[in-house]
Amino acid sequence: MSARTRRRERRRLTAGEVVVMAVLSVLVLAVSFPVLYALLNSFRSYAEITKDPMGLPSGFSFENYVRLFQTTDYGEALLNTLVITGGTLILLLAIVPMAAWGIERLGGRSSRWIYLLFIAGLMIPFQVRMIPLVSSMNQLGLYSTLTSVILVHLGGAASFGILLYCSFIKGVPREVEEAAEVDGAGKLRTFWSIVFPMLLPVTSAFVIIQALSLWNDFFIPLVFLDASSAGTINVALSRMVGLLTSQWELIYTGAILAIVPSVVLFAAFQRYFIKGMSIGAVKG
């Protein structure tokens, strides 16, 4: 790869490359158009939007952003989404890497069966377990609580986590762990202070992928949170859409705010993003 990079630096900008750059830029602009449109309209009033749908904002007033929090449940929904995303991530990290290590170090036929049981979950759509889960959560008194959403998410994400961590742990040498044990460290300590730090590359990928999908999820909170809860951002937005007199300007504003955390996460961890998405993808 390094030879290739060196060659790349020496090359001059060709006409072909300029064309490719132009085409890519146009494509990105076209695909981003709805978001740019929503962004512009988040600075306009309802009257302005309906009078001239393609008009530009007359100024950058943040009135819609203030009203979104004052007149709707959006603030509470934002908090709920944060709790669900953060809570699920922490619990996933507490149980999944440990389980994957256990599976890999257990050995024998049982190890393989447990692994396959987890992997089978990748093929079970949420719809298949949805109806019984709602009735169980009802019986447990957990229906329409954030706990129920977190629990359901945990089960759904476990399969992917086990797949990711197991394939990574296969490449981790045992010698270090064995040395730690000879030195008298217990299994739990060996895992958290020696093995877990070595799993950082896969942990960062897992956290980023899960954070995005948890933040963006709509179906699970829609099913498990009823009107007694403010819902998550997406659920709150869909309720605003469902109103007879929907406030377009607030919905555009809410949509833009929902994207911000993803963009911030991406900007902060761009390198891990691209690596994470390609982990296990090359020669799958």
Partner: protein, 315 residues
């Protein structure tokens, strides 16, 4: 990513060099089982148990609320398989799921090939190409819903301003075009992760191979057809499988944009299950539809892997 499940060494590797006394090995295994236990318990309670319970419920006439229900055998399955509404939902799911898998993969591959051509600012373009993928399907659909509004939507406004008054349509309310509009919105992306996976694979194609082919007089098209494409087969398998599995459960866009309407015209299988299970209080019937969905997903995954694996180059 789903495909690397096969071939794991199942043997215990403990027997190597270090003489492990049996008691220690048993203790080791017990501790490892304890490590697995929390995740396994949550997973079984949240995924396996409810899935099995779904099979049981699918054989009943349960309404989802009343604790009493009766077993009706395979009546629900019979009803589903003879229901026009279900087959319409299946057809839509195929159009949207398979259609978007093909279109998005083609677009993503095209974008990845263009990115791979860049020798300057590749990182920058890779970043901006990925940016649109940060917008979830739900948010994009919500924005589109208003852009497609008949009276005040951006799309119809532009069309009317340009003088095409007849082309301004009730995009989400017209039986004949609504599924096509949904497909367009679902495909309105540059692929995001799919593109990244293709790009990573393109960059792992050995340059020597490409150069050798060029020296032997192969055209650009031939290089792609006989060198690059076979090397990409693994990535195509992964991407198509992932997108088809996701395609079978398309829900968000339908829920936001049309809620299955007009009538039942634009329902998908996932939406159908949601609607009959919760909206129409036919939990038993909904469970049966969910089991049908599961069988379809299982079959797709197995067949897609089998078919595409057979085309892969074993490097």
């Amino acid at each position: 990513m789903t495909v690397q499940t096969a071939e794991r060494p199942a043997a215990v590797r403990g027997g190597r060099a270090r003489p492990a006394p049996d008691r220690r090995l048993t203790r080791h295994r017990a501790v490892m089982l304890l490590f697995i236990a929390p995740a396994l318990i949550v997973y079984v309670l949240m995924v396996i148990a409810p899935s099995i319970q779904s099979i049981q419920l699918s054989l009943t006439d349960w309404d989802g609320i009343n604790p009493a229900y009766e077993y009706v055998g395979f009546a629900n399955y019979q009803d589903i398989l003879t229901s026009d509404r279900f087959w319409n939902a299946t057809k839509n799911t195929l159009i949207l799921g398979l259609g978007s898998a093909v279109v998005v993969n083609a677009v993503a591959l095209g974008v990845a090939l263009m990115l791979d051509k860049l020798h300057h600012a590749q990182g920058f373009f890779r970043t901006i190409v990925y940016l649109p993928a940060l917008v979830s399907g739900f948010i994009a659909a919500t924005i589109w819903k208003y852009m497609l509004n008949f009276n005040f939507g951006a799309v119809n406004t532009v069309l009317r301003d340009l003088g095409f008054d007849d082309a301004a349509m009730d995009w989400l309310g017209d039986n004949d075009i609504v599924v096509g509009v949904l497909l367009f919105i679902i495909c309105f992306t540059l692929g995001g992760n799919t593109t990244l996976i293709y790009l990573a694979n393109l960059q792992s194609v050995p340059q020597d191979l490409v150069e050798a082919a060029r020296i032997d007089g192969a055209s650009r098209g031939q290089v792609f057809r006989y060198v690059t494409w076979p090397m990409l087969a693994g990535a195509v398998t992964v991407n198509m499988t992932l997108m088809m599995i996701a395609g079978w459960t398309i829900f968000d866009q339908v829920m936001v944009l049309t809620a299955g309407g007009p009538g039942f015209v634009s329902e998908t299988m996932a939406f159908f299950i949601y609607k009959v299970g919760f909206g129409e209080y036919r939990a038993g019937y909904g469970s049966a539809a969910a089991i049908v969905l599961f069988i379809v997903v299982l079959a797709t995954t197995v067949l897609a892997n089998k078919y595409m694996r057979s085309r892969e180059v074993q490097a």
